[in-house]
């Protein structure tokens, strides 16, 4: 699974993308965020408040309880601020 990070999530984690193979217990986006937080202190720092995070699966916005299914690309980021 390809992961993409944007804005301060990217900055705190220290990388913009990585490839991971989460265990089967990681079923939805919230599970994934929780599991990722254990990967490094940067991950922990970026992901410690899931309520401040938003996500997209295969380039579609999804709520954090969305199932990962066969997701190829999951993006995690703060609420958008364009325009």
């Amino acid at each position: 699974m390809d992961l993409l990070y944007f804005a301060w999530v990217r900055e705190r984690i220290g990388i913009g993308h990585e490839h991971v193979d989460p265990p089967e217990a990681v079923r939805n986006v919230a599970d994934l965020i929780c599991w990722l937080a254990g990967r490094s202190s940067g991950h922990a720092e970026a992901l410690r408040e899931p309520g401040k995070l938003r996500a997209a699966i295969d380039q579609k916005f999804v709520p954090l309880d969305a199932l990962l299914g066969n997701a190829k690309e999951v993006a995690i980021f703060p609420p958008v601020t364009g325009g």
């Binding site: 997209a56 993006a75 609420p79 958008v80 601020t81």
Partner: protein, 145 residues
């Protein structure tokens, strides 16, 4: 005509408007967002989600075209670094009558604010801070549901 562009180059407003006017529509409405220097902001950096951004903007342009019967829609969003006075975003619509052009233009910028994956970082001298999302933007986008 649907034109969507996400680019680091400055937004060429005259050309964008001219292309809309050439659609033969009676009414052209535009919205332009400009970087403000207030609060000591010296620069703005725009990050986005390549691929998803363009897809979202195309979807919005198509939805507006269908809903208001537009003859032309242009959405141009700048990314990268820009300074006060420069254009961040341009939305333009061409329609037979003013109501359609104006409503569609308002819809597009309202929805772009909540639906398109852009993130703003404000630079104030050496300090940089990510802009926080505003509740009022969700409310504004919601009125088009």
């Amino acid at each position: 005509m649907i034109r969507v562009s996400v680019d680091t180059a400055p937004i060429a407003l005259s050309q964008e408007v001219a292309a809309l006017e050439e659609r033969g529509a009676g009414a052209v409405a535009t919205f332009t967002g400009v970087v403000r220097g207030e609060g000591g902001v010296t620069a703005l950096e725009l990050e986005h989600y390549p691929g998803m951004t363009e897809a979202v903007l195309c979807d919005l342009a198509e939805a507006a075209t269908e809903r208001w019967g537009l003859l032309g829609v242009t959405i141009v969003h700048r990314v990268g670094r820009m300074t006060p006075g420069e254009r961040i975003v341009f939305v333009g619509t061409a329609a037979g009558h003013r109501r359609e052009a104006l409503d569609a233009c308002a819809y597009l910028i309202d929805r772009l604010k909540t639906d398109a994956p852009f993130w703003k970082r404000e630079q104030r001298g050496d300090a940089a801070a990510w802009v926080e999302a505003r509740e009022s933007d969700s409310a504004a986008a919601g009125r088009w549901d």
